[in-house]
């Protein structure tokens, strides 16, 4: 029985390694530009699902009809957009995953985010402060954050 057990373990490991090898992609990093338009608190122009690959260079420009704050979660990049002054986010998508981006009306940046800063390269985790916003938030009464889309960074 024992050597069959070993054979099964070997088979499973081979299977896993084969998966890993078979799945390795390639290609050079590309540049992607996305234009989004937000009107009345919702996305009116532009895709709600932005698909890129790891290490691609991404530029997102957000046009808005009112003063809003655009926040890309995960990468934790937040920019403000106003009529006539679109927000531009430019960064390298060096982390894979599915990252929501949200807007909220108003100019306040979110308080209470761990080490938050507006540096484009930071990958701060500031998400929790938006959760449980209904009752416990102490950062004033800015509007609720609305998810308007996702950035999906696929592995290469």
């Amino acid at each position: 029985m024992r050597h069959i057990y070993k054979k099964t373990v070997a088979a499973v490991l081979t299977f896993a390694i084969a998966l890993a090898l078979a799945a390795c992609g390639g290609g050079d990093p590309e540049e992607h530009t996305f234009d989004l338009r937000v009107e009345g608190g919702a996305l009116t122009e532009g895709a709600s699902l932005l698909e890129v690959k790891k290490d691609d260079m991404v530029t997102i420009t957000v046009f808005a009809d009112e003063h809003i704050s655009f926040h890309l979660h995960g990468y934790d990049i937040e920019k403000e957009a106003a009529p006539g002054e679109p927000a531009t986010l430019a960064f390298t998508a060096d982390a894979t995953g599915s990252f929501p981006f949200t807007i909220h009306v108003g100019a306040e940046s979110h308080e209470g985010e761990a080490g938050h800063d507006e540096d484009e390269e930071s990958h701060d985790e500031g998400e929790g402060s938006h959760e449980g916003d209904g009752d416990g938030a102490e950062d004033g009464d800015h509007e609720e954050e609305v998810e308007i889309g996702r950035l999906q960074v696929q592995p290469r």
Binding site: T8, G74, E127, E144
Partner: protein, 513 residues
């Protein structure tokens, strides 16, 4: 664009659209955002195929085996000084003290710390490090919770103080725990916990966490006062039951060789064959040379020849349901169901609560259905109830594998929050250890690596489950062919459960925080 990719985009797009419709729900899940990418189709299919293929390999082993495994290989770590050091009272008491310290710190942080979940120790410690992290440790290392449980430790300390006044006394009203209650109190409390994690909207609010922990502490100590500490831990303390169940999969166990300590053990800790495994009470009182801390193969703790109680079966199925429900409520499929129910029940929280309540019943119904099929296929006419209660542990590896796969990236990303929080647990801008400025690295685990780990884990969980079920079948039925025939429905159930787990992992995440 390939058709499947278009379908995927539509699914993801509607997922996002629903997120816009129900923005307020985006936070109801323990704590912490998830950035998992859905497992791609080719991996899903490969995993499913592998699970089925390897199942037949396992069956083949049992068809040809001459006798079932009766005992498993063990290595007693206490034979080495390093092993003995692990169980030394000084080490044990230090670990317990640290655990109580963390418990107190979490409550304090919840009560007086910053209300923002990210800046406060409580949400990360409870939902990431403890609930998710300890599940990993329990399953892959051993029953650590039995050691670090702060409620037990604090009660022990209180009992010791009490004994200073009254030598013979026990800190308990001494009520006999009615056997018929089984572990139902634990089942109910665990259901309550599931509700907090999956339905309750304020689960990430530090103040609420502190209140809930305090409430649960009172309930736990109340139970201990009524029935005695060990009895309550074994019957009513939801997390001892949950982590203890996961720890059956783990490759370590504690064991007492002689019968002396067990005779005076308040728990009937000896399995049917007279062995005392996993009883902390006996282990603590046994003479040093009669104790073992064994390394053992994975999952053998889940093999048993006797039926568990009805309440224990319910608990296991509740745990399975909760684990699966956790992932299921993030799928577009569930979002559609919620959408269609919204007319009848215009409150998302209520919809989710009802679904949570229904899920264990669904699992129980399906499981009993397949147990009936097992009984019928065997041709030997065993009682369905006995069969169901004997085999229920065999599903645990599948749920465990899904749980580990589902939380892998989450633990590695959100778990990093503990680093800045260690320096500033209350959000008061402290920097005790110099790590307060640490920024979480969201790229710590590549999506492809996470996918492959997840699929491999699920396939392994499936193979282990099939193996366990066959091993138990050979012990339960006196003849080989009825045993093997009984496993055909079980295999169908397991393949179905594994496919469901893989399917959930392949779904885009909707309305998840």
């Amino acid at each position: 664009m390939p058709r499947l990719a278009r379908l995927g985009l539509v699914a993801a797009g509607s997922a996002v659209g629903l997120g816009v419709l129900f923005p307020g729900l985006a936070h109801a899940h323990g704590f912490g955002e998830r950035y998992d990418l859905p497992v791609p189709l080719y991996l899903y299919i490969t995993g499913a195929g592998a699970a089925v293929a390897f199942s037949f390999v396992v069956i083949g082993l049992f068809v040809r085996a001459t006798s079932g495994p009766h005992d498993y290989p063990r290595v007693n770590l206490l034979r080495w000084p390093a092993g003995r050091a692990l169980v030394h009272p000084a080490v044990v008491h230090s670990i317990k003290a640290v655990a109580v310290g963390l418990y107190a710190l979490v409550i304090l942080a919840g009560l007086i710390g910053d209300a923002s979940p990210v800046d406060n120790l409580a949400p990360t410690m409870v939902w990431v490090i403890w609930w998710v992290g300890l599940a990993y440790v329990s399953a892959l290392v051993g029953d650590v919770w039995a050691l670090i449980n702060p409620w037990g430790t604090i009660f022990d300390w209180a009992e010791r103080l009490y004994r200073r006044a009254d030598d013979e006394g026990e800190l308990s009203f001494g009520y006999r725990y009615p056997d018929r209650l089984g572990v139902w109190p634990g089942v109910l409390l665990f259901l309550g916990f599931a509700w907090v994690e999956l339905v309750y909207g304020d689960s990430s609010v530090p103040g609420r966490i502190a209140q809930l922990v305090l409430a649960y502490s009172l309930i736990t100590w109340g139970g201990m006062l009524l029935f005695g500490k060990d009895e309550w831990l074994r019957r009513g303390e939801a997390f001892s039951l949950a982590f203890g169940l996961l720890a059956r999969f783990a490759p370590t166990e504690i064991r007492v060789l002689s019968y002396g300590p067990c005779d005076s053990c308040p728990l009937s800790c000896r399995a049917g064959d007279g062995r005392c495994i996993g009883c902390g009470n006996c282990f603590g009182r046994a003479p040093v040379d009669e104790r073992e801390l064994n390394l053992r193969p994975f999952a053998v703790g889940l093999i048993r020849s006797e039926a568990v109680s009805w309440s224990m079966m319910a608990f296991v199925l509740l745990l399975l349901a909760m684990v699966t429900f956790d992932g299921f409520i993030a799928t577009p499929f569930w979002a559609d169901i919620q959408n269609s129910l919204y007319d009848a029940i215009p409150d998302l929280t209520s919809i989710r609560a009802l679904a949570l309540l229904a899920s264990p019943f669904v699992f129980i119904a399906v499981y009993l259905g397949f147990s009936t099929l097992m009984a019928v296929s065997s041709g030997a006419r065993p009682l369905v109830g006995d069969l169901a209660r004997t085999f229920v542990y065999t599903l645990v590896p599948i749920a465990l594998a899904y749980h580990l796969a589902h939380f892998f990236s989450f633990l590695l990303i959100q778990g990093q929050l503990i680093i800045p929080l260690a320096s500033d647990p209350f959000g008061f801008d402290w920097n005790l250890l110099g790590t307060a400025g640490y920024r979480v690295d969201i790229g710590i685990v590549d999506a492809r690596f996470a996918w492959i780990t997840a699929v491999v884990a699920i396939v392994i969980g499936h193979i282990v489950a099939v193996y366990l079920a066959h091993a138990i079948a050979l012990r339960t039925f006196s003849e080989r062919w009825p045993a093997l025939r009984s496993q055909v429905p079980m295999l169908v159930l397991m393949v179905g459960y594994t496919m469901t787990s893989l399917w959930i992992l392949a779904q885009p995440i909707v309305i998840e925080a």
